[in-house]
């Protein structure tokens, strides 16, 4: 999931910095929000499965 999220973040960065190409300026905030939602899902999953964490 870490690599997946990093790739999504890199995609948002490329789209955000190249807004004139492929409607990047319009899609970048949406992909950003999708990444953020996925991050929240992984956080909730981490909270609800404490046995996978051995602090």
């Amino acid at each position: 999931m870490g690599l997946f999220l990093t790739l999504l973040i890199a995609a948002v960065l490329v789209m955000g910095l190249q807004p004139e190409h492929s409607n990047g300026g319009r899609w970048a905030p949406m992909v950003f929000l999708i990444t953020l939602i996925l991050l929240a899902v992984f956080f909730v999953q981490d909270m609800t499965t404490p046995l996978t964490l051995s602090f």
Partner: protein, 195 residues
């Protein structure tokens, strides 16, 4: 729109937020590489939230670099910054609470007396305050007067490099498995580190 009444510009404020987050992430990466402090799953989730804050500010800085900075950029990117920083703050706070009991040594090595997740909570709260300030006082801040182009260019490339380094590190740590380790002891892909 009334003229801005302060010398502070949106570009400089974004640079402040960006370099604050970049410093925290660089410290975490440095401790991982030089002191072999491997990040746990929650640490990685905080890093992703930091990278999202960086990306939102980099988009704003990219527009400033090309002289296209508008109030729409400011509103969108500071709004996204607040969302990412709020999630990061929630993750950091959870990790602080996991180690809040007396006698708990905490996870990892402290930096200037505080653990990295505590610094993360402080940094995320600061980002929320700074972005809220930028939104609330957007007419008071200079829109046209940007930071030096060279500084913006260096910031953008530093952000890209840091995200790429984190991509390589997370791949080295998780290898081909989907989940990240809660208490990692070695790099799964490279098969080295402590056993």
């Amino acid at each position: 729109m009334p003229p801005a009444s302060t010398p502070l510009s949106h570009a400089w404020l974004s640079l402040g937020i960006f370099w604050g987050v970049t410093s925290a992430l660089t410290a975490a990466v440095g401790m991982q590489l030089w002191l072999h402090e491997l990040p746990c799953a929650l640490c990685w989730l905080q890093r992703f939230a930091m990278m999202l804050v960086m990306v939102a500010q980099l988009t704003l800085l990219g527009a400033a670099r090309h002289g296209r900075l508008s109030i729409t950029h400011v509103a969108t990117n500071h709004g996204l910054t607040i969302l990412a920083a709020a999630l990061g703050f929630a993750i950091s706070t959870r990790q602080v609470f996991l180690h809040i009991l007396p006698g708990d040594p905490g996870y990892g090595m402290p930096l200037f007396g505080l653990h990295l997740y505590t610094w993360g909570a402080i940094m995320f709260a600061s980002c929320i305050l700074a972005s809220a300030f930028a939104l609330a006082c957007h007419t008071r801040l200079q829109l046209g007067q940007g930071a030096p182009a060279a500084l913006l260019r260096v910031s953008i490339w530093a952000g890209i490099a840091l995200i790429a380094i984190n991509g390589a590190l997370v791949f080295a740590m998780q290898g081909m498995q989907w989940e990240l380790d809660g208490d990692p002891t070695h790099y799964r892909l490279l098969r080295f580190g402590s056993p």
